[in-house]
């Protein structure tokens, strides 16, 4: 089974803090994604990466950056956390014959 591990299930941070969300995969998949999920808005794409040191902006990249120094690890960075970044953050990898996404369990981030 594909395993996508997100480092924290719950995080509470203060406004202005720099926040790191980590995602690690146990397979050799190239494509990795960060989404955020908010009630009524569904999943929205923040950033994605098709290879090491490669990154592309998604639909809502403002206030975020990413890092992919190794193939198995894709990090989402909130440079200066704000209350409107309170959300569920989901990491996903893409693979298999269907090119479907495999998701981690998510990180529920609260910014106070």
């Amino acid at each position: 089974d594909v395993k996508v591990t997100q480092s924290s299930r719950y995080l509470v941070k203060r406004t202005g803090e720099k926040v790191f969300l980590e995602c690690v995969q146990d397979m050799d998949h190239e494509n990795m994604f960060w989404y955020r999920q908010d009630p009524g808005l569904g999943l929205r794409l923040i950033y994605f990466s098709y290879d090491v040191k490669m990154k592309e902006k998604g639909d809502i990249p403002e206030g975020y950056s990413v890092s992919r120094e190794k193939k198995e690890r894709f990090s989402l960075i909130l440079e200066s956390a704000s209350t409107n970044q309170t959300s569920m953050y989901l990491c996903a990898i893409q693979g298999g014959t269907n090119e479907k996404l495999f998701f981690g369990s998510g990180t529920q981030l609260s910014v106070l």
């Binding site: 569904g42 998604g58 989901l90 090119e99 495999f102 981690g104 998510g106």
Partner: protein, 111 residues
């Protein structure tokens, strides 16, 4: 711009009461339409991929169908354990490999 609209937002069924969830989509060229199930506090789990109009996929009490403009997820004789949020997503056939998701249908099946 790709768009996915799911309806209804929420659905409450009695155990055994069959129904359908709708997913309407707009995409320049469809590579695949995906259905996921999401339980509270967890990441989405893959259910089906549909590639072309007329295609159908089944898994236990679930059956997904696809037309050129929409997809349906039919739930036959649901059980309480089918309670979850069901998400629909599309991937276009050129360019971006990411999926575009709808906002989901929250299904509750009462015993």
């Amino acid at each position: 711009e790709d768009q996915v609209t799911q309806s209804p937002e929420a659905l409450r069924l009695q155990e055994g009461e069959s129904s359908s969830l709708n997913c309407s989509y707009t995409v320049s060229g469809l590579r695949g339409l995906f259905w996921y199930r999401q339980d509270p506090g967890k990441g989405p789990e893959f259910l089906f991929t549909l590639y072309s109009a007329g295609e159908e996929k089944e898994k236990e009490r679930l059956k997904a169908t696809l037309t050129k403009k929409e997809s349906f997820l039919h739930i036959t004789a649901p059980k309480p354990e089918d309670s979850a949020t069901y998400l629909c997503a599309v991937r276009r056939d050129t360019g971006r490999r990411a999926l575009t998701f709808g906002s989901g249908t929250r299904l509750q099946v009462q015993p």
